[in-house]
């Protein structure tokens, strides 16, 4: 398939899409036209320079006027389209009303296949080298042996069914039961699930009272109206205070210019979501902001082969997550940090 054909297809795909703002479309096309047609190199260099200066001087995304936002997005689209040699769209889809996103994960189903990790990397344009991954899957020993004397110091034993997963039921514990066992991040068996192991994926828990937001000195990271903690990558100063504050190890730093192959780059992006990041800024899971604001499930939910991941609107009592909260055995990871995560782990 020739490059031109593919471009055309992409354009058609765009037209089929639900993009409403025709003016932005026009701007986009202009940008691509400028990128494709070879303008005098000096002039291009000058405009690039001007654009990069304008990008440096732009203010916080939440404080921009609509026209400033449009200009910022047009600038980014032009730059990305040139860099990745395909038409890249940077959306600014607004947050839907009356929605608070929640996530539920069934640890008795998870088989530790790491497809969510892989899908997340592809969807969200994470750097391939050095590799950045927003989801970390932990392999743990099942908690059956909590009854044995030598393991008592690891925590109070509990009912055997829940104890299988090292999770205590009801009340409170002097010490954690679950995570007291051996945890492995780098397990690499031929096939999963392994005997006597359970898997515990951890990603951003989208806390209602996030420690990272509190720690950021410039409010580059903040809670969006749907309860997702987002980052304005162009406002982040790279001080890593948020990374230090996060008890879930959910934030990743771009230690170098992220390497992202052109073919693998996902061209459908959102300003606060998966647009390619730059060197020296923080990034993290946004529940695939670019997808969920369009109504789609996050990529990890769609990739999970066992249906362990559930996602929905916490304000809607009919949603899957609310039903899970109502009927299942639910716990939250490190609840004692009082960050009020909206990421729930549950068991059958």
């Amino acid at each position: 398939m020739s490059e031109d054909k593919r471009k055309n297809d992409i354009d058609e795909g765009q037209d089929d899409g639900t993009t409403k703002e025709s003016r932005r479309d026009f701007l986009k096309k202009m940008g691509v036209a400028a990128a494709v047609t070879t303008v005098a190199p000096a002039a291009t260099a000058a405009t690039t320079k001007a654009a990069s200066i304008a990008e440096h001087l732009q203010t916080h995304f939440e404080m921009m006027s609509d026209s400033q936002k449009e200009a910022a997005i047009a600038r980014l689209e032009k730059r990305y389209s040139e860099q990745f040699e395909k038409q890249v769209t940077v959306a600014n889809t607004p947050a839907p009303d009356e929605v608070l996103f929640g996530y539920a994960l069934n640890i008795s189903k998870c088989i530790g296949c790491r497809r969510c990790v892989e899908a997340c990397v592809r969807e969200n344009n994470q750097s391939r080298d050095p590799a950045i991954q927003w989801i970390r899957v932990l392999q743990m020993e099942r908690g059956n042996d909590t009854f044995e004397l030598e393991n008592w110091h690891k925590g109070s034993p509990s009912s055997s069914r829940i104890g299988d997963y090292g999770v205590q039921s009801g009340g409170h514990a002097d010490k954690a039961v679950g995570i007291s066992g051996h945890t492995d991040h780098y397990y690499e068996p031929e096939q999963v699930p392994e005997e006597n192991a359970f898997y515990f994926p951890v990603q951003c828990q989208q806390c209602e009272d996030p420690a990272c937001v509190r720690a950021c000195p410039v409010q580059a990271t903040y809670r969006d109206p749907n309860g997702i903690v987002v980052i304005d990558y162009n406002w982040c100063i790279g001080c890593r205070m948020c990374q230090l504050a996060c008890p879930y190890w959910a934030r990743r730093f771009n230690w170098s210019e992220p390497a992202l192959p052109n073919e693998e780059m996902n061209p459908k992006t959102h300003y606060l979501g998966n647009r390619p990041r730059m060197r020296g800024v923080m990034e993290k899971c946004t529940f695939c902001l670019q997808r969920v604001r369009d109504g789609r499930y996050p990529a990890c939910v769609e990739a999970c082969p066992v249906g362990a991941r559930k996602f929905g609107n916490l304000l809607d009592p009919e949603s899957e997550v609310r039903k899970i909260l109502a009927t299942k055995k639910v716990f939250r990871f490190k609840e004692d940090f009082n960050t009020e995560p909206k990421f729930f782990y549950y068991m059958d």
Binding site: I111, A131, H185, G295, F311
Partner: protein
């Protein structure tokens, strides 16, 4: 007091050392990040059960969201990403209710038709009834014995684990019409709608599936939005489900170790966490 010559000489000397040190430092720099090749060229990958749920990557389809219809993992060949979650699906149709379960939202529910993807059918090029004509209908309903065929599906038919040995092929497969399934009431059920059969025994799971608590769905997150519901047999193989709920699969590659550390360093290095 100051002899300039001496200091010029010293400066040259130090400058030389500075250059040498800079050279050393440059050598210490991390190698330039190389862009890995795109290995996701695989045309075919599987969804949940390898060998049963193959999916073909289409080049010419440009759906509403994203570009190819699927993206596959270069390491395991598993589907990672759906450009179009409703690709190759059709409406689910009516949904039987057992008992007084609350209605799930299945107004816009779609499912993928199983018959198109069943390996046995595709390989033989005919339907099941092509090899098993209706004449076989005389076969006893509960008659465990060695099978001459389909040993790849059930290796030892005398010890069929599903139902803990209490049931036999024809408790689910329709002896009268091999292209369909049958429930215990003799009701004929399409191979595309296995939930109608499974639900007749696994009632609780079935109701949870209807509510969205069990099983996988792709599409829109809104209640009432268009969703692809994954049917029972897309995740579970009913013939081996007693041994393992899900077919074991190869995991994706582990994350990169922290820079400067090797696997040997990490033997037992990850340990007590979560405080």
């Amino acid at each position: 007091m100051i002899s300039p010559k001496k200091y010029v000489r010293a400066t040259v000397f130090y400058g030389f050392f500075a250059v040498v040190t800079s050279g050393l430092v440059l050598q210490d720099m991390p190698s330039q990040a190389t862009t890995p090749e795109d290995k996701s060229g695989a045309k075919e990958c599987y969804e949940s059960i390898k060998g049963a749920t193959e999916l073909v990557k289409k080049d010419n389809v440009v759906p509403k969201y994203g570009y190819p219809n699927v993206k596959c993992s270069p390491t395991t060949g598993a589907v990672l990403w759906y450009g179009d979650p409703y690709d190759d699906t059709e409406p689910m149709g009516d949904m039987p209710t057992f008992g007084d379960h609350t209605d799930g939202d299945f107004a816009q529910a779609v499912i993928r038709t199983r018959t198109k993807h069943l390996k046995t059918i595709i390989q033989n090029g005919t339907k099941c009834s092509g090899c098993h004509p209706a004449a076989d209908a005389t076969t006893q309903k509960n008659d465990p014995r060695e099978l001459m065929m389909h040993q790849d599906i059930v290796s030892n038919a005398t010890k069929l684990q599903h139902g803990r040995g209490a049931i036999w092929c024809f408790d689910c497969h329709n002896a009268a019409n091999r292209d369909t399934l049958v429930d215990h009431k003799g009701q004929e059920i399409s191979l595309n709608e296995p939930y109608k059969l499974c639900g007749s025994c696994h009632g609780v799971t079935y109701s949870e599936w209807r509510m969205g608590l069990h099983g996988k769905r792709t599409g829109e997150w809104r209640v009432g939005g268009k969703k692809r519901w994954w049917t029972c047999t897309e995740c579970h193989n009913p013939h081996t489900v007693q041994e393992h709920r899900f077919q074991p699969i190869a995991p994706e590659l582990p994350p990169a170790l922290p820079r400067g550390m090797t696997k040997d360093d990490f033997k037992g290095a990850s340990g007590h966490g979560g405080h």
